[in-house]
Structure formats: structure tokens, C-alpha cells
């Protein structure tokens, strides 16, 4: 740039800066003008308004709606939280009052300094919280000694309480303080109340608007230093609505505790016609009260780094290869493709495809197998042969129809999709063509296939209910449990599956449980009329090398926990008039027949004994079931 050019640009710059400067002066004049208008011309008017500005308002938080089980047992309720409050100007000596108070109710040094700091910050007539969560005895003691405790008073507000703690925490979630991002998303002024809690997870989050209710408002008059003179109007808020869930808390409790005999796992029980989720457990779980109180970072670290995943709801967000339970889908796909279920395949314990060898779980083989034989024995070779004949796309189509590979739309945040692979999927995500060997592996529920326990429960429900596209849900009704009407006929559409095919698959499942040498025969139900029909599954999480196979496959007990097989079991009952479906997954539990099936059996016995779908809450009630 030559000298002249640089002078030109500098001239343009200066000229324009001056121009903009003129604009800035104009804007400043507007500012000064406005100040003059407000503070000189209109000042008297505003002085009067300020004088009248004596009406202050305060929001009244509504009480949060209860969450109830299907019979009206409260799963989340509000407990009164008794607090000791202190009004500084009413006590001659604050320190002494606190000392006296601490003799009745122990206070830590931290709590004491917090009170003193709070006092320094607020005005003398504002109440300060001294101590929360007082017990009944403490309240009584303080009340009796009130004359000796000038300035102290007892006040009560509400606190969320979960009577069943960790048993319901994965479903209910918890409430906790409002965060910065909650405020940005939700304009409700209630959120700005100090100490207000909102749903952060689970049903508490899903149905937040229903449960929260509407704020009330109190308008009161204050004098010129701000002391409250009297309340002018009081408009009560609208309390949050109660919600009745589909859960049967007795069954939920049983399921959770039965499952807790293993290290980590999930179980779902649902009504195969209505889609009511009767129990949904994931172990280990966490204590929701700790979240409401606020976790220390140490506690949080411990929860996050726990290898058994207490923060994950494994029933909806745990994704596992379904293992042999997936053979139900392979069977249906084969039937749809015109395979004759009586036709047999010979299992010698291994089958070859090109250079690769595919092994049956039973080294010695199963011999001649038809379809229901193969389901009963969980014969891998039979399904390898079916897979080879019909291809992966036919299997994937059937699996998707039965609810696998996509979220079921349960009314709970955090549900995972799982994965049902097919040719198009592999080409799109890996850019590689599908290999036939993969068809064989996926047909027995290994390889790419991923499902959640909830999806497997839906799958077996649809098999058991005659092919209706039932969907699971947790919300039964808003309002009073006694008002819930009996369930009407199922309104889910038929999926158009031939009932003969379903009968064959159910027969296979019946033979699994109720015929000698069926894979789950030892976990059958022997109570007449309650028999279950199921399918076992053990999904491998590691690769068995040729070398290991020749040495002898290592037993699960000899492997580190996180390399053991997942144990799965899906079932419905009663076998001849199905009503309930159940899925149990035990993470790295070993074998489906030895670990998962006994749990499912016990759950289904308890479920049929309680028979929650047919029990009428209006007659039996449920309120006597409080723990």
C-alpha cells in the first residue's frame, strides 16, 4: 500500500469515526433526556408510587402429587419437614440462644457458623433456618422449651419421601434442586423459589408437569422498612395431581429382592394384554433420598465408578445380546418363510460353512431335531440351518415386528433402542457387505444383536397374547386409585401373524420348561394351573478361540466376572391361558437355565399368586400393604 492509499483509508476512518461519534452523542442525549424525564419531570409521581409500593408478594408452593401403585399404595409421598427457625431481633443474645438450642438438638460446628453467616446477611426480622429434619421428639422438646429459647420457632414444609427407597428408585427417579439449565427451559416462577425441588429422573421427571401443580400467591403489606404488617389476599395454589402407576409394589418388592441375590441384573414383568408394567427392577440401585439431599463428590464418584452400574436402569437402558431367547424370532421367521416345523435337521454338534465351523453349545450334538425339539434343547445347529435357508433380512423383519431394535416408547426417560442388524444396516454403518457366517451367529442372538430386557419382555408378550402389538406403559391414570376403572378389552392392533406359527413357538417354550430334559425343566412351576413356558439364553461376551475350544472351553466359574456370559430367561404364564410375561437378565450371571430361570420362576409364581391384573382394588384395597 503506498503512502497516498494509506492516507485515504485513514481519512475515511477518521471521518466515519466522527460520524458515528455524532450518533453516539445522540444516543447519550436520549439517555440523559430519559433520566431527566424519570427523575425530574415525573419524579413526584414515582415517589408516590414508591410510597405505595408496600404490597409484596410471595409464591406459595403447591404440594407435589403422589405417585401410587395400581392399588393406591404410595410410592412417593410428601413428608412434613419440621424446621427450627430463628428470628434474630427477638433474641437478646443470639449466641446464647443457639447454645441452649444445641443442648436439645445437637448441632455441628458447620451448622452453627452457617446460621451466623446467614444472620449477618439478612435483616433482623427475617426468619433463618437453624436446623431441618427434626424428629418428633426433638420438635416436642423444642416446643416445651420455647419460653427459654427466644426467637426460635418451629415451622413445617414438605419433603419428598420414597417409602420403598432403592426398590423403586430406577422407576420413580428422584427430585432435586433446580439447575441453571432447568431455569432456562422452564419459565414457571415456582422454579425460582429457594429450596424448590423438581423431578430429575424417572417418573418424577416424565410426569413433572402433572405432579408439580400450580403456584399459589400471597400478597401482603409491608411497612417502610419491609416488615410484614398483614396478609392482604391469599390465593391457594393448585396441588399437583396424584398419578396411579401400573406397578404392583408387592410384586416389585419381591422382584427386586429376588434379583438382588445376584450381583447385577434386570427383570420386567408385564401384563401381555394391557401392557401394564407390573414390576421393573434393576440391581443394584441407589438411594433416591441421597440425591434429594445432594450428593458429596465422593459419593458421586463411588456411584459413577461402580462396575455394577447402580445408576443405570438396566431394564430399559441395558443392552445385551439376547442369546438363545432370540431363537423364538428365528423360528417365527422360518415359519413365515414356509419352513415345515416337523421337518428335521441332524445336529452332530458342529456345522461347517465354507472354512468356518459353527459349534452347537452341546459338543456331542442333539441328533435329529424338529423345530419344537430344537427350541426345547436350544439346539444351535438347527437354527444355523434355518438361518442359512432364510437369510438375515427375514429374521430382522420378524424381530422388529416383535418390538426389538427400537425403543418401546415406555413412559420413562432413558430407554435405549438396542440393535437388530440386517444387510442394509451393515452397509450403512460399516461400509462392508454382509457375510453369511454373521447370519448364523446373529440367528442365535449373538454378534451384533442387542436388546433390552424390556424389549425381550414385550417380545414374549406378543408371542403369548396371540400376536397383538402390545406396548408397555407405567402410567395407569391420573387422580385417585379408587376411581380407576377396570381395564377394558385390549386395544392393541393385531400384527397379522398366523396363530398356528405362534402355537408352534409356544409349544416349543412349553417343552423347554415342562418336558423332561428341557433346558429349563429344573425351573418349572409345579403348582397346577400356574405352569410357565419359557426360553433360556446365555449370551457370550467374549470370543472363544480355536485353541481354547481344542483345550476345552473354560467354565464360567473360572472366568473373571465381566467375561462371564449374561444369563437370560423369558417366559409367560400360565402356559394354557397366558396373562403375564417376564424377562430376567443377570449380567455375567453364567447360564440362563441355571441362574436366570429360577429367578423368573419365583417371580412368576409370586405374580400369579398376587394376580394383580385381575384383582379389583375397590374390593380388596391395598392400603394395608404399607411396609
Amino acid at each position: 500500500m503506498n503512502k497516498q492509499q494509506s492516507q485515504t483509508i485513514q481519512r475515511v476512518f477518521s471521518r466515519r469515526v466522527v460520524l458515528l461519534g455524532g450518533g453516539q452523542v445522540l444516543l447519550l442525549s436520549a439517555l440523559f433526556g430519559r433520566m431527566y424525564y424519570l427523575q425530574v419531570l415525573e419524579s413526584d409521581k414515582y415517589k408516590v408510587l414508591a410510597e405505595e409500593n408496600r404490597i409484596n408478594r410471595r409464591l406459595l408452593p403447591p404440594s407435589r402429587g403422589l405417585i401410587l401403585d395400581r392399588f393406591g399404595v404410595p410410592l412417593a409421598n410428601n413428608f412434613p419437614n419440621y424446621r427450627a427457625m430463628l428470628i434474630a431481633e427477638q433474641t437478646p443474645d443470639l449466641e446464647e440462644t443457639l447454645r441452649d438450642f444445641a443442648q436439645l438438638v445437637p448441632m455441628s460446628e458447620r451448622e452453627r457458623t452457617k446460621v451466623l453467616r446467614e444472620r449477618a446477611r439478612s435483616r433482623a426480622f427475617m426468619p433463618i433456618t437453624v436446623k431441618e429434619d427434626l424428629t418428633w421428639e426433638q420438635v416436642a422438646q423444642v416446643e416445651i422449651n420455647l419460653p427459654d429459647l427466644p426467637g426460635i420457632s418451629i415451622d413445617v414444609d414438605q419433603k419428598r419421601h420414597y417409602p420403598y427407597g432403592g426398590i423403586t428408585s430406577h422407576i420413580l427417579g428422584y427430585v432435586a434442586s433446580v439447575s441453571e439449565s432447568d431455569l432456562a427451559r422452564d419459565p414457571d416462577p415456582l422454579l425460582q423459589l429457594p429450596g424448590f425441588h423438581i423431578g430429575k429422573n424417572g417418573l418424577e421427571k416424565q410426569y413433572e408437569t402433572l405432579l408439580r401443580g400450580k403456584a399459589g400467591e400471597s400478597q401482603f403489606e409491608v411497612n417502610s422498612v419491609g416488615r410484614t404488617i398483614r396478609e392482604l389476599t391469599r390465593q391457594e395454589g393448585q396441588p399437583g395431581e396424584d398419578m396411579v402407576t401400573t406397578l404392583d409394589i408387592g410384586l416389585q418388592q419381591f422382584t427386586h429382592q429376588r434379583l438382588a441375590s445376584e450381583l447385577a441384573g434386570a427383570a420386567v414383568v408385564m401384563d401381555i394384554f394391557s401392557g401394564d408394567v407390573l414390576a421393573l427392577a434393576s440391581t443394584p440401585s441407589y438411594d433416591p433420598a441421597a440425591f434429594s439431599r445432594g450428593l458429596t463428590s465422593l459419593e458421586w464418584q463411588a456411584l459413577v465408578s461402580d462396575i455394577y452400574g447402580p445408576l443405570t436402569n438396566k431394564a430399559i437402558a441395558g443392552q445385551y445380546p439376547p442369546g438363545s431367547t432370540f431363537k423364538l424370532m428365528t423360528s417365527l421367521a422360518a415359519l413365515k418363510s414356509g419352513i415345515n416345523p416337523s421337518a428335521t435337521v441332524f445336529c452332530s454338534g458342529v456345522t461347517a460353512l465354507g472354512n468356518a465351523r459353527f459349534h452347537c453349545w452341546r459338543k456331542e450334538g442333539h441328533g435329529t431335531q424338529n423345530m419344537t425339539d430344537a427350541l426345547k434343547n436350544s439346539c444351535d445347529v438347527y437354527f444355523y440351518e434355518m438361518a442359512r435357508r432364510i437369510g438375515i433380512d427375514a429374521i430382522a423383519e420378524m424381530a422388529r415386528q416383535f418390538g426389538l431394535g427400537q425403543a418401546e416408547g415406555l413412559d420413562l426417560p432413558g430407554e435405549k433402542n438396542g440393535l437388530i442388524p440386517d444387510r442394509a444396516w451393515k452397509r450403512a454403518t460399516m461400509g462392508e457387505p454382509w457375510h453369511q457366517g454373521e447370519t448364523l451367529v446373529n440367528a442365535i442372538g449373538q454378534g451384533f444383536v442387542q436388546t433390552t430386557p424390556l424389549q425381550l419382555c414385550v417380545m414374549v408378550s406378543r408371542v403369548a397374547n396371540g400376536g397383538y402389538a402390545v406396548r408397555p406403559h407405567l402410567m395407569r391414570a391420573a387422580g385417585d386409585a379408587n376411581q380407576v376403572k377396570a381395564d377394558g378389552p385390549s386395544t392393541f392392533p393385531s400384527m397379522g401373524i398366523d396363530t398356528d406359527w405362534l402355537t408352534i413357538v409356544r409349544t416349543g417354550m412349553d417343552r423347554v420348561s415342562n418336558e423332561l430334559r428341557g433346558t429349563a425343566y429344573r425351573s418349572r412351576i409345579t403348582i397346577p394351573g400356574m405352569e410357565l413356558a419359557g426360553k433360556t439364553g446365555s449370551s457370550q461376551v467374549r470370543r472363544i478361540t480355536m485353541a481354547e475350544r481344542s483345550r476345552g472351553v473354560r467354565k464360567n466359574e473360572n472366568l473373571p466376572w465381566n467375561q462371564r456370559d449374561h444369563a437370560l430367561f423369558v417366559a409367560f404364564a400360565p402356559v394354557h391361558a397366558p396373562r403375564y410375561a417376564c424377562c430376567v437378565v443377570v449380567e455375567h450371571g453364567g447360564g440362563g437355565s441355571t441362574v436366570a430361570a429360577p429367578i423368573a420362576r419365583d417371580i412368576l409364581i409370586e405374580c400369579q399368586r398376587r394376580d394383580p391384573s385381575r384383582r379389583n382394588p375397590n374390593i380388596e384395597g391395598g392400603r394395608n400393604e404399607m411396609p
Binding site: F13, A50, R57
Partner: protein, 386 residues
């Protein structure tokens, strides 16, 4: 070597001592005066207590002051070199908060660094000015005619604006656009182009209003501004109360710690966005005029420094930053007086808050650096001599 050529021709390389003597200490004094008013107001906002705001704000200002002087020592050539990288970093951080916000499902403006909360949109305010000054440096008035020249800087200004708008932070987006526009104007972009853009903006605003690009609460703020009485206890409450507090202050105010409206909690957010109201309630119109005068003086310092700089980069940088400061305090004061809608912009140096304080101090540091290095000549390309 290029550098030696420069030292032979240009001013001698300055020592830190020389540089420190060249700092506009009178300006630093004004900055301290304004900050002190802020401390007093935070003391008052806490009903006459150092805790919880004043002590922390003082610590931040102390750090800011050191940072400002350190930055003032950095010469323009180095500033020019970091202009683009800094812009790139700010841009990536903005995208990061947007994505993180998407995942957290809600508005996200901060990156939590444990010690401080980093607000990328604040960094962008500085980075954009630096990058635009760096870009326009070396273009002649003739060059500015060519539309091709303007494509890159337009994108440079609009992309971050879009990201900030998405957060959603209307106030900051508005400031980025206006500061960008001011730099374009003084850099010599032709008049008629502004007319065209203005027309398009009006059409765009009309479109945005009728689509769902604006959040409901943002629309509500505009509507409330047009008629506060419509919603006297809701969103209009802030502005109505602010006007009452201001107006009742009168000419001389109610006196320090005596602002009844502020202290009885009628005035919302008195330690942040509405702190000017409390000041004007306690010190009246006289106080208000003095404070606005002090701010104007600081802006004027920036403008004069810009006019005296021998490099175009320095000129644009100092001007852009002073325009930024002007908009900052103008938007805030005009907002609390009910001249423009409430957009949530703090009052620089006075409102309680860490990131805004740091950005403002960094801005002052850069302006002072332009003054200290006012005689430095910069080459057309990357700051080295031609």
C-alpha cells in the same frame, strides 16, 4: 532479516519500563473510579455487607487490573498473530457449548472449568474485534469496494452471532452484530451496502417474528417493553419496578444504603443487570449523569487512541473495543430506564459477575496496548514489514 529492517526504520524496540511510562494512567484511574462505584453498590446491594458480592468482586477486579496491564505490554504485531487463532478457539468453544447444551437439553452458555465458568460468547466479543481488525488491516479504500473482500468478514461476524442466538442469548448476539457493523463502517465499507443490509434485516425480523425462531419468552420481552402495564406482575414487573425506583430517586437521590425500593426487594436482580437502577435511586440523577459521563470518557479515550494509532490494525482494534464498551453500558442503562427491551446485558465493571469483568478488562488492556504501540508500523500481510 525482516525484523532488523523494521527496527532500523521504525521506532526503537521499547523496554517494559518505557512501555509502562506510556500507559494512559489517567484512563486507568477512571477505570478504577468506575469499579469503585461498583464496589460501593455491591456493598449496598447486600444491605451494607462485604459478603457475598463486594469482596469477591474486588478480588476479580484486582486480577483483572494485572491482566489488563500485562496485555497492554503485548505489542501489536503479536496481537495480530494471535487474532485468527484466538477467533478459531472462541468459535470452537461456542460450538462446543451449543452441542453440550443440545445434549443437556437446554440453554447452555458456560463451560465449567471448576475454578471459573468460561463463557465463550464473552471471549467471542473480543476475538471478533481482533479478527476483523486483523482482516481489514492492509486493505485500501479501493479494495473495500470489491464485494469479494467482504464475504469472509461477513461470515466471521455472522457465524458466531448465529451460534450465540441459538444458545439463546439475544443480547450478546445483538452486540456482536452491532460491533461487527461498526467495524465494517469505519473500515470503509460503502454506505449503500449498509442500507441494503438494513432493509434485509427488517424483512428478516418480520419473518423471525412470524416463525418460531424466537423463544416465547423473548417475544414476550419485546411485547412487555412496548406495553409494560399489560403484565404488571409478570415480565413487566422488572421494568415497572425499575422505573419506580429510578424516578423516586429524584435529582439528588435517597442517599447511600437508603434506596428503599432496592432494599425492600422490589427491585429484582439489583446486584447484576439492574444495579444502575439502585445507583440512580440512591444517588439520583446527579449520580447517574456522573456515571454515564465516566463511561463516555472511557469510550472517548478509546476513540482518541484509535485516531492516534499509526497502524490500521490498531485503529480498528481500539475503535471496535470502545464501540463494544459503548454498547455495553448504553444497552444496560437504556434497558433499565425502559428505553429498550430487557435483553440481559450487565453493566460493565459494576454488575456482579466474573466473566464480564474479565472481558471488559482484557478489552481495556488491548486499547492501552494500541496506545503504547501507537507509532508501530505494521506490514500489510501478517504484521511484519513489507
Amino acid at each position: 532479516m525482516v525484523l532488523q529492517l523494521h527496527t532500523a526504520r521504525g521506532p526503537r524496540k521499547m523496554t517494559i519500563g518505557t512501555k509502562l511510562r506510556n500507559v494512559t494512567w489517567s484512563m486507568v484511574l477512571v477505570i478504577c473510579a468506575v469499579a469503585s462505584i461498583g464496589f460501593a453498590m455491591l456493598y449496598s446491594a447486600a444491605h451494607g455487607s462485604y459478603d457475598p458480592w463486594m469482596d469477591r468482586q474486588m478480588a476479580r477486579f484486582g486480577i483483572g487490573l494485572v491482566m489488563m496491564l500485562a496485555i497492554a505490554m503485548v505489542d501489536l504485531r503479536s496481537l495480530m498473530k494471535i487474532a485468527y487463532p484466538l477467533y478459531a478457539i472462541a468459535f470452537v468453544l461456542l460450538i462446543y457449548v451449543d452441542v453440550a447444551g443440545e445434549i443437556g437439553m437446554g440453554a447452555q452458555r458456560w463451560i465449567d472449568l471448576k475454578v471459573i465458568q468460561l463463557q465463550p460468547s464473552e471471549i467471542m466479543k473480543i476475538a471478533l474485534v481482533l479478527a476483523l481488525a486483523r482482516y481489514f488491516h492492509g486493505f485500501t479504500y479501493e479494495d473495500m469496494k470489491r464485494p469479494m473482500v467482504l464475504i469472509i468478514p461477513t461470515l466471521m461476524a455472522l457465524l458466531p452471532t448465529g451460534l450465540v442466538l441459538k444458545q439463546p442469548d439475544l443480547g450478546t448476539a445483538l452486540m456482536l452484530t452491532m460491533v461487527g457493523g461498526a467495524i465494517f463502517f469505519v473500515a470503509g465499507v460503502r454506505w449503500w451496502k449498509f442500507a441494503v443490509v438494513f432493509a434485509i434485516a427488517i424483512a428478516g425480523a418480520y419473518f423471525a417474528w412470524n416463525s418460531d425462531l424466537l423463544h416465547d419468552y423473548q417475544k414476550k420481552r419485546v411485547l412487555t417493553f412496548l406495553d409494560p402495564s399489560q403484565d404488571a406482575l409478570g415480565a413487566g414487573y422488572h421494568i415497572t419496578q425499575s422505573k419506580i425506583a429510578l424516578g423516586s430517586g429524584g435529582v439528588f437521590g435517597k442517599g447511600f444504603l437508603q434506596g428503599s425500593q432496592s432494599h425492600l426487594d422490589f427491585l429484582p436482580e439489583r446486584q447484576t443487570d439492574f444495579i444502575f437502577t439502585m445507583f440512580a435511586e440512591e444517588f439520583g440523577m446527579v449520580g447517574g449523569v456522573v456515571l454515564v459521563g465516566l463511561y463516555s470518557l472511557l469510550v472517548l479515550y478509546g476513540i482518541v487512541i484509535a485516531l492516534r494509532s499509526r497502524s490500521h490494525f490498531g485503529r480498528l482494534l481500539a475503535y471496535g473495543l470502545s464501540a463494544n464498551l459503548f454498547l455495553y453500558f448504553f444497552i444496560n442503562t437504556a434497558m433499565v430506564m425502559g428505553l429498550i427491551p430487557v435483553v440481559g446485558i450487565p453493566l460493565p465493571l459494576i454488575s456482579y459477575g466474573g466473566t464480564a469483568m474479565m472481558t471488559v478488562m482484557i478489552g481495556f488492556g488491548l486499547i492501552i496496548s494500541v496506545y503504547v504501540h501507537r507509532d508501530m508500523r505494521l506490514g500489510r500481510r501478517n504484521g511484519d514489514d513489507e
